[in-house]
């Protein structure tokens, strides 16, 4: 079996590179035809959530992916991917539209403002390890999580990593750092 990487827009190639370093076979999901291929894991990469969400909707890929996720297929969602998974969105201006809506969290988009608010940090991430490098690019944060959601990490009091069953949601970009521990956790699910 293989991991499907959503490749509509954004940093999907970086995820493919990390997975290849771990010896995992991966292919790109660019349209509904690709859903017929055989895969048992899904990566939702960073990028612009408005672009990815609109293309998922327009290409008719939302419903099939939602069903697979609800049936327990492991998902690794980073930054924009976390926004796609969220059931509820918050923002200071335009909230955006919930898309896959499979994770019981409220996510605030652009929580640190514009690009000048982007930053690097390190933190301990439960299930991943100690001092994990974290890259936040115009990042979101989780402002509310349901009872079934485990908080894996906080930075400056903000929830930046969550898990619900086999769904992993990260506000940062493990695909941009050479540290492979986040992808190892994903492949162990």
């Amino acid at each position: 079996m293989a991991t499907a990487v959503l490749a509509l827009q954004g940093a999907f190639a970086e995820h493919e590179a990390r997975l290849a370093e771990l010896g995992e076979k991966a292919f790109e999901l660019r349209g509904p035809d690709d859903l017929a291929r055989s895969f048992d894991r899904l990566v939702l990469p960073g990028g612009e959530s408005t672009v990815q969400g609109r293309l998922l909707e327009e290409l008719g890929m939302l419903e099939p992916l939602r069903e697979r996720i609800e049936d327990g297929m492991p998902v690794l969602a980073t930054c924009a991917g976390l926004i796609l998974l969220a059931q509820r969105l918050a923002a200071h201006d335009d909230k955006g539209t919930p898309r896959l809506a499979t994770m019981d969290v409220t996510v605030e988009r652009n929580a640190y403002g514009r690009q000048l608010g982007s930053f690097h940090a390190t933190a301990d991430v439960a299930g991943v390890g100690r001092e994990v490098p974290l890259t936040f690019i115009r990042a979101p944060r989780v402002v509310d999580a349901g009872a079934g959601v485990q908080v894996l990490a906080r930075v400056d009091g903000n929830v930046v990593a969550v898990r619900q069953g086999t769904q992993l949601g990260f506000a940062f970009h493990p695909e941009l750092d050479p540290d492979l521990r986040v992808h190892q956790l994903f492949l162990s699910l």
Binding site: A91, Q115, L116
Partner: protein, 302 residues
């Protein structure tokens, strides 16, 4: 809200440079659209733009108006920042570091030090390493691209010939940059010093291209893209995303054409999808041939 608590601009340096290159990585596979009003910005966002370029006049109108073309009114840019949640870019004149300071002060996501505006300095580009905010710059060849990166640019785009609707220059710039990269890759290690001298760029950057087979930053196509097929052509030639300037809001049905170009960039190697996206788009921008114009913007800033 975290955003309101930000009172100081972060310091420039290697850490910011990395974050700024990383934002460009998030834009890959996307379309960045020129917009002149909050209404156009919302149409662009709704159509799937991964960022918008806020400017008072699109390149085709700058060309028609003539005269000196400058940075846009900050109030107009703020209106566009308030209208959309995607990144907002804006242009400053080549070498005009105070226009760049102004754009950084209004919390712009990316500055385009652009040959589309009238150059403010005919020798020096902005020292972009002195800024926390990221810059994208145009290039016609590997030499220009690596010089801009040495000056601190965290993203490169082809210059193309803006405001023409004629993709020929973007094609030749992308082909040349990639051919030159292939040449650098083919060199022996001890030949890189001479190549750096020939290209008039730091040898460290030549070595980076030699070892990785690519530019050290993301490379988009820009200048003259007017149709979904143009966008897919640039992607097949190796662009990592596309800027569309005049091509959208100078066309008959901007929203539909914008959506079609976004779809063509995602599915650039699927001719059936590009065919379907190319149907019934209405009038394309009229376009002018590069041989019919007096002003070649791509000649600015080398």
């Amino acid at each position: 809200m975290a955003q309101d608590e930000k009172t100081t601009t972060p310091a420039p340096g290697p850490e910011r440079a990395k974050l700024n290159r990383e934002l460009a990585q998030m834009l890959k596979g996307g379309v960045i659209m020129d917009v002149t009003t909050p209404g156009q910005a919302r149409i662009a966002e709704e159509a799937g733009a991964c960022a918008v370029m806020a400017l008072e006049r699109i390149p085709a109108d700058i060309r028609a108006a003539g005269g000196v073309s400058r940075m846009s009114d900050p109030h107009m840019i703020k209106g566009i920042q308030a209208a959309v949640s995607i990144p907002v870019m804006a242009k400053c004149r080549i070498g005009h570091f105070v226009e760049a300071q102004v754009l950084q002060a209004i919390d712009i996501d990316y500055i385009d030090e652009s040959e589309v505006l009238s150059p403010a300095d005919d020798v020096y580009h902005i020292d972009k390493t002195q800024f926390a905010v990221p810059f994208v710059c145009g290039a016609r060849n590997l030499s220009e691209a690596l010089r801009r990166i040495a000056e601190g640019a965290s993203m490169i785009r082809t210059k193309g010939e803006p405001g023409t609707g004629d993709v020929v220059q973007a094609v030749s710039h992308m082909r040349l940059i990639n051919a030159q990269i292939r040449h650098v890759v083919s060199l022996r290690d001890d030949e890189l010093f001479e190549e750096a001298k020939r290209l008039q760029v730091p040898v460290e950057l030549v070595r980076s291209v030699h070892d990785s087979g690519r530019l050290p930053v993301v490379n988009f196509a820009a200048g003259g893209v007017a149709t979904p097929a143009d966008a897919a052509l640039m992607m097949q030639l190796g662009a990592e995303g596309v800027f569309v300037g005049s091509g959208i809001f100078k066309s008959g049905d901007p929203a539909k054409r914008a959506r079609a170009i976004v779809g063509a960039v995602t599915n650039f190697d699927d001719p059936e999808k590009v065919a379907a996206l190319s149907e019934d788009l209405g009038e394309a921008m009229v376009g002018i041939n590069k041989d019919e114009i007096d002003l070649l913007m791509a000649e600015r800033g080398k």
